[in-house]
């Protein structure tokens, strides 16, 4: 009954939001300006209809549970909701077109910095985000980075399709490592030893939107020192060159052909036993678990998951496919749209959904760390921390056109691939990437 909000609850929640934001420092701008943090109440317009666009599920359970939650929303508030599913890479252009022409879905579940491309076309959802943050232990810092712009929330983070270093436990042990290394040096040693045992690692270096971007950003940011603020835009730094030298050494231990790898290659190669370490979502483990092929099924016990090693920055610098919901100003039912986004993040909906998606989605709200999905199988646990360990792909830079364009143009992926494969020296690769990035960041 948590969602039947009456007036008294509303006051309580508002107070909670105020307290929450004060302690967590969220909405600090609003408080500083003497405005009370906005409260949130479920007040969808009567007879409203919503159109929702989301990315097509990676695992069936996700869609089933999502639609169950949608139905619960419709039943409870009498709001008709139509959900369209699109391939995950098609959501971004569709959302952009909707923003451009000013009509289309009311709510879109998009990726990364989508809302920052057209912030003035979006509803201010500070009330929803403030309410959820206060109720569920606060947002992880990176969720705030992606969801907020100029002190206002323009997106309601949904979570990230997290990745870990998926590896074969027996092969790691055979290479002389009791457990998976937690630092860059140890990781390189491991990959070298694994190569010597003919059980190599492999990471995508082709124009792979998900897996390619994910690990190369981690690799470069793992050496970036704090204090490099926006405006300096120093991709071409000594730290980056060091990271690229490391990439080169690492590449020497890879299975051949990673330069051509797109998102699906590493899954296939891992399940076939040709690669013993790669970065991936929980889908590989899930595929092995549900496989009817005895050879693949036998992998289940041997698959291990480890969070990305930590570099000299001493902090995790992972990047994962981050998704958030945003609603457009053109919506005829803005309150219903907000209610929908909030409803889907409430515990009654979110936890079962996360479970149905077998941990494919890591939460942006701290409270969901306790979701049993993360402990029911110890191999799920590393995925729990994916969003906590995330660094935004823009690093210290501002999210917007430039950050989206730079990532879409594979500047980081190309830089690492060039240096790793030896087609350019690390210094040249960094200079080239800097030149390419500067063109986008010039405005």
């Amino acid at each position: 009954m948590r969602n039947n909000v009456n007036r008294r609850d509303f006051l309580k929640i508002s107070a909670g939001v105020a307290a929450g934001t004060a302690t967590a420092g969220m909405g600090g701008e609003a408080l500083a300006q003497g405005k009370p943090a906005a409260g949130f109440a479920y007040k969808p317009e009567k007879g409203a209809k919503l159109r929702v666009l989301r990315w097509k599920r990676f695992v069936q359970g996700d869609e089933d549970a999502f639609m169950k939650n949608v139905k619960a929303f419709s039943d409870k508030f009498g709001v008709e909701v139509r959900v369209d599913n699109e391939g995950w890479e098609d959501v971004r252009p569709k959302a952009a077109v909707a923003a451009n022409v000013g009509s289309g879905p009311d709510v879109i579940y998009g990726w990364f910095d989508d809302p920052h491309q057209y912030p003035d076309k979006l509803l201010d959802v500070s009330d929803v985000a403030g309410y959820l943050g206060a109720k569920y232990g606060g947002w992880y810092p990176v969720a705030e980075t992606y969801g907020k712009r100029d002190g206002k929330w323009i997106g309601v983070p949904l979570g990230a399709a997290g990745a870990t270093f998926v590896h074969r436990i027996s092969h790691v042990q055979a290479a002389g490592f009791k457990e998976f290394p937690k630092d860059l040096g140890g990781f390189l040693e491991l990959c070298k030893a694994m190569k010597a045992k003919n059980t190599p690692a492999g990471f995508a270096l082709g124009n792979a939107v998900g897996d390619g971007n994910s690990w190369v950003h981690w690799l470069v940011w793992s050496r970036r020192q704090d204090g490099q603020r926006e405006g300096t835009r120093v991709i071409n730094s000594p730290e980056t060159v060091k990271a690229l030298e490391y990439a080169k050494a690492l590449y020497a231990t890879f299975v051949p052909g990673t330069l051509s790898w797109l998102d699906a290659n590493n899954n296939k190669a891992f399940l076939d036993g040709q690669v013993s370490i790669t970065n991936n979502g929980i889908s590989v483990y899930y595929a092995a678990k549900t496989s009817t092929d005895a050879k693949v099924k036998a992998l289940v016990a041997d698959i291990g998951h480890a969070n990305y090693p930590i570099g000299p920055t001493g902090k995790p610098t992972e990047l994962h496919l981050f998704s958030q919901a945003f609603a457009f100003r053109y919506s005829k039912a803005p309150n219903a749209a907000k209610a929908f986004m909030a409803f889907m993040m409430e515990k009654e909906q979110y936890e079962p959904w996360q479970q149905a998606a077998i941990g494919y989605i890591t939460q942006p709200l701290k409270a969901y760390e306790s979701n049993p999905i993360w402990t029911v199988d110890p191999k799920h646990t590393p995925y729990r921390d994916c969003v906590k360990n995330m660094t935004a792909h823009s690093h210290a830079g501002k999210l917007g056109y430039a950050s989206a364009a730079a990532m879409a143009d594979f500047i980081m992926v190309n830089m690492v691939a060039e240096a790793a494969s030896g087609s350019k020296s690390p210094k040249e690769a960094a200079e080239r990437a800097q030149a390419r990035a500067q063109r986008y960041y010039k405005v």
Binding site: R92, G206, A404, N414, A417
Partner: protein
Amino acid sequence: MRFFDNRNTLGRVFMLPAGVLLLLFLTYPLGLGTWLGFTDAKIGRAGEWVGLDNFQFLFGDSVARLSLFNTLFYTVVASIGKFALGLWLALLLNRHIPFKSFVRAVVLLPFIVPTALSAIAFWWLYDTQFSVLSWALTRMGLIDQYIDFLGDPWAARFATIAANIWRGVPFVAITLLAGLQTISPSLYEAASLDGASEWQKFWYVTLPMLTPIIAVVMTFSVLFTFTDFQLIYVLTRGGPLNATHLMATLSFQRAIPGGALGEGAALATAMVPFLLAAILFSYFGLQRRAWQQGGNDK
């Protein structure tokens, strides 16, 4: 109704629907695309006129320059390949072979299968880990390591070109076959009586009679190849190291996932002069009557 009695007026009225369609679905999008190329439009934000800024930007961009090279290389090599194989196939199919119509239908298959589907098939053929080709060659003992079809820049260029040729040959072959069948047998008879060899018949009868068709087919083929998108998008996404990025794929990457509509449009607009050149070449060059009659320009 005196108005409709006038033949000219009536003619114009009948042409109106076609004119409107052309204007609406061809001229307008093309005009809009070109205009966008001169603006700094971003997705979700209308642009302002920036003149040649986008083109200047692209000219200074190493990836855009590489994509121009890739596109030209891809088009030239693939078109030559398609022409040679297509003509050869057409000549073969023009003979009396058993199950003629069945074989002709089969030849069309690569053209009928949706590109995205055949591209996926090629993706499997070229996969670095699971390539059937590599597997077969290793089994035969010819190679001891899998071929990195899509992981090496030059190998990837040729691999994508091969896939494009495979897909494009049927179109060329079947159209040229149609052209071959319009050549009157009496010409060959006359040539035989004059004592012409098979080669001379081909050179002095078949080829000249075929040039108008060749001009049309190759114009289309060059246009299709130059603007290819799906094959690259499925196979490599423009990788490795942007070695297979064509102008069309890069234009999409910049405009839609990258959000820089103006820049993407400029890149697409930059393709137009090349396409026009191809069309003009075919129009003014290959269609000259003098050539078609086996003579030279006067």
